[in-house]
Each structure stands twice: as C-alpha cells, then as structure tokens.
C-alpha cells in the first residue's frame, strides 16, 4: 500500500470539486467555456482518483490497469484500434443504425396510418424489444455470418424498437387544435404529415435516435463475442481479456466511450438544429 498516492488523489478530487463548485455558482456559469470546463475537470478528477487507487493499493494490472497505462497502450496501438473501430463502429454499428432507423421510420408511418396495426404491432414490438440481445446475437451470427453483416443485424434489432415507439408516439403528439386546423383546410394525409405531424414528432424521434446511439455501439460490440473475424472492438476485448492484456481492453473501451459520446453528441447537435423551436432547446430561463 502506498498512502501518498491515495492522499494525493483524494486531495486532487477535493480541489477539483471545490473549483467546480466555484465555477458552477459563478456569474459565467452559462458560458460555453464553463459548460465545457466543469464536466472535464470532474472527469479528470475521477481519473486521478482511479490512478491513485490503482497505484496506492498496488492493484495488479491484470485486474485493473491504471489510466496512465491505458493511455500508453492507446497511443502505442492506434493502428489496431483504428482497424477495430472501422470494423465495429463504421461497418457494424453505423450501418445497422442507419438501416434500423429507416426501417423503424417506415414501419412507424405504416403503423400510423392504421389504428388497427398500431394496436396490433406496438404490444408485439414491446415484447420483441425485451428479447435479450445476448440471446439474439448467436442466432443472428448463425444466420448472417461472422463478418459485420451479423453485427449490423443485431444493431438493427436493437435500435428498431426504441425508434419505432418514439416515432409512433411523436406522430400522435400533435395537439387537437393543431390537427383541427389542418382539418378546416381539408389538408390531405401527406400534407398534414409533412407540414404538421413530422415537425411536431421531431423531438420524440430524436429521443429515440439518441437512445439508439448507445444501443448501437453496445450491440455491435457484444455481437462480436459470438463469432467474428479477427478484428473488431468486441473481438479484441474478449480476446485480450483471455490474454490478460487488460490495458488493451481498456484502450478499446476508451475508444468505445469516445466514439459513443461523439455519436450521441452528433445526434444531439443535429437535434438542436432540427428542433430549435422546442422549449427544451430554447434556454431562456
């Protein structure tokens, strides 16, 4: 045990919290810089705490590596990490996400046209959404092969229902008066869809799209556990655990966290452009 590390880490945590409290209660708290600074400092202080615990208690590297080791491994393995990222994120997660989103969207429009279908499909859909991915993945690997296609299929299954449910809900979210207005204009189905219901549904659709971002990445990674070519983030994680190369495992997790957050952030950014009018996007008070 090495008390110096632990005391140092705790001190850093306290100092960072103090600074954060000061910033959060200061005049400039709503400026972009503080919005960026506070969470980053918080994250750094957590990393310092992690480092302190690992070093302070001499935690073996095969149990939990220190952030500094992970970072070193990350820098040393960028080409492998990049190759895995392309395989899992770009080919598996992203393509599955796009296909799943389109499929969900098309289904939502179909379901929306008929009340009968809606009442029939949504409960079944909710049931299917509860099928655990760890059970579906081996089946889909068996059906779609070892390469990214089966991963994309798992992602499609995972993102389909959240987007479907949110879109259907969104398409019904217009208030009565807004719909009545369209009635008095004798607007056609497509006119009222394009001019009223789709715009009104956007906040809901984006909710589904945001949830789906994290699901997509996790789905693609986990699916690789059940068979994969010899590249990909999930492949690497499972293989390197067996080899006790935990620093590499965490380097992959780091990539996943960065990619996932960036993906989420990108969708959130798109949301703020599309639904600029929604009260949740207008920070005034």
């Amino acid at each position: 045990m090495n008390e110096g590390w632990i005391v140092g880490a705790l001190a850093a945590l306290l100092a960072a919290s103090y600074v954060n409290i000061q910033v959060a209660n200061s005049e400039g708290r709503d400026q972009a810089i503080s919005r960026f600074f506070v969470p980053v400092l918080f994250g750094i202080s957590l990393l310092v705490l992690w480092q302190g615990i690992v070093r302070g208690f001499n935690v073996p590297g095969v149990i939990l590596p220190a952030p500094s080791d992970i970072w070193a491994r990350f820098l040393a393995s960028t080409s492998i990490l990049w190759q895995d990222f392309v395989q899992t994120f770009v080919k598996g997660a992203l393509s599955g996400y796009v296909m799943g989103a389109f499929a969900a969207f098309a289904t939502a429009l179909l379901v929306d046209r008929s009340d009968f279908l809606r009442r029939g499909i949504l409960p079944v859909g909710n049931f299917m959404a509860a099928l655990p991915i760890v059970g579906i993945a081996p089946i889909l690997v068996m059906w779609f092969g070892f390469d990214w296609q089966s991963k994309a299929a798992v992602v499609v299954v995972m993102v389909f229902f959240p987007i479907l449910v949110n879109t259907v809900e969104g398409l019904r979210a217009t208030d009565m008066m807004q719909r009545d207005l369209m009635q008095t204009y004798a607007a056609s189905y497509w006119q009222s869809l394009l001019k009223l219901r789709l715009p009104a549904a956007m906040p809901f659709i984006f909710n589904g799209l945001k949830v789906a971002t994290t699901l997509a990445l996790i789905g693609a990674i986990v699916a690789e556990f059940f068979g994969s070519p010899i590249r990909g983030m999930g492949f690497r994680i499972s293989t390197e655990v067996g080899r006790l190369a935990l620093d590499m495992v965490w380097a992959e997790i780091l990539v996943a966290a960065i990619a996932g957050s960036a993906f989420y952030g990108a969708v959130a950014l798109l949301e703020s452009f599309v639904t600029f009018w929604h009260p949740s996007q207008r920070r005034s008070r």
Binding site: F226, G227, S228, P229, V241, G242, R243, L244
Partner: protein, 307 residues
Amino acid sequence: ADDVTLQLKWVTQAQFAGYYVALDQGFYEEEGLNVTIKPGGPDIAPAQVIAGGGADVVLDWMPSALASREKGLPLVNIAQPFKSSGMMLTCWKDTGIEKPEDLKDKTIGVWFFGNEYPFLSWMSSLGIPTDGSEGGVTVLKQGFNVDPLLQRQADCISTMTYNEYWQVLDAGVTPEELITFKYEDQGVATLEDGIYVMEENLADPEFEDKMVRFVRASMKGWKWAEENSDDAAMIVLDNDETGAQTETHQKRMMGEIAKLTAGSNGALDEADYQRTVDTLLGGGSDPVITKEPEGAWTHQITDKALN
C-alpha cells in the same frame, strides 16, 4: 478442514470428472479439505480469477498459463493430470482438404480467449500466414459451438476429441464426410488442463501442504474416474446446475477423457513441457512467448503427493 477453491476452465462436464469424483467420493474430505469447485465459461479467464483472489488453484492450458506468466502473473504448474492433447481441427472433406498444406485459402474457425496459441504456432510452423495476407488462411473467431461448420460458414473448425467432434456427429454428419487433424499427430500438441497456483504461495508451507493433499486427492479422483467411467459421468451430471448436459454425451466424453489422462500420474513430464515451450517459441513473427520461461512448473507438490 482447510478451504480450497478450484476454478475450472470451462463449464461442468466430464472434462473435469476427476475433481467432481474426488469431491463426491469424499477423497478431498479424507485429506481434510473443503473444496469448492467453480465452473468456468467462455468469458472466464482462470488466470484473472486467481489474480483477483477468487480461487486458490486453477485449471488452465499451458500456452495460456505461460503467456500469463510473461504478462507478469507468476503462475506455476504443480500437476498435470492430462498427458495428451485433445485438440484437433475438423474439416469438411468435400472442400478438398487432405493434408495441412491444403488449409491455405480456407476459412478456419479458431477459439480465442487464450486458446488460440496452439493453432497460431501450428500455422507458423507450416508457414501459413494467419493475418489475412495472400496465401494464408482466413481465421474466424469461432463461437461456443460447432454451428460454423454445420452452416458451412467455415471449412474447418477447432474441436476437442471429447466434445465438439461428437456434436458434429450428433448433428447427423458421418465421420466419412469429415477429415480431422489432431494436434498430437501434427507434432504441435501443447499441454492442456494443468493445475496452476500463484508462485508466491508455494513458499508458504501451509499452502504447500494443502496443495499436496489436493493433488493427491484429485489424482485419486482421476484414477477412479478412469476406472468407473459411466459412474463418473453420472457424478458430473449430478453436479451440473444448468441442467443442460445429457447423459449420453457425458458418458461418451468421459470415455474420451480417460484416453487423455491415461499415462499421467499427475507429475508433469519435462519432455512434454519442453515440447510445449518449443512449439510456442516457434511462433514465427508473433510468438506466444518470447523467451524460455523460468520456474513455470515444479515437482515440489507432486513429489510429496505421489510418494
């Protein structure tokens, strides 16, 4: 009684019959041991479990144990109940594969998670690249079962003589449709299912004594299992908590396992060890271990246990 926790490498099956028999027949109890057997699984790295203090003693394959040792986790082999390797490559005959050299350009399913080392060594000794380059094999990370072969997603898959091979046959495939390559026959066999502990514990006389008794009782179990094959399989079945194992499969497996443990009294054969190390060192561009290991095994326990 002294507590001992044993971490298996895989799920409860006849592969580990000796330990379950020793437990069931009271051999551990006779030695004053209170043994807990933890089943493994696809995501359990025994080396990691022992490093985390989750077990006192683990079963592992030697390639993976030696690799862990190089990673800084000082595992030591204290006994080796398995004399021979049960690993083989099982291929469809109709793909035109007749000899190892024909594997070029084929798709092959391989177990990873530390079990890939024997295969990689073999390929590099054949001079066949595995990194996807020209003239090499396409390697797939094979899942838990033999589906890739049955679905013809792979031309060959890794199988154990005692388990997966029979699953292929159970699926209706006839042996004539298949061609198999045993690692033993190819001269690239590596030691499987050895008993490993942490090096620093061995210095502790109390622990040493515990292990002596453990190995003695375990070997007694193994010999009992070899002689009473069907009863041993039933004992295993009784200990399977998933309720997914079947009697026929376990009995058959026990028969095959007995062939692998035959010829071992528990003490590691130095020649086998050396062959394993040489195979691994010959790993070409990406060797599993980079230098001759030191202190990776000891007869300290078996000497006391078996004499």
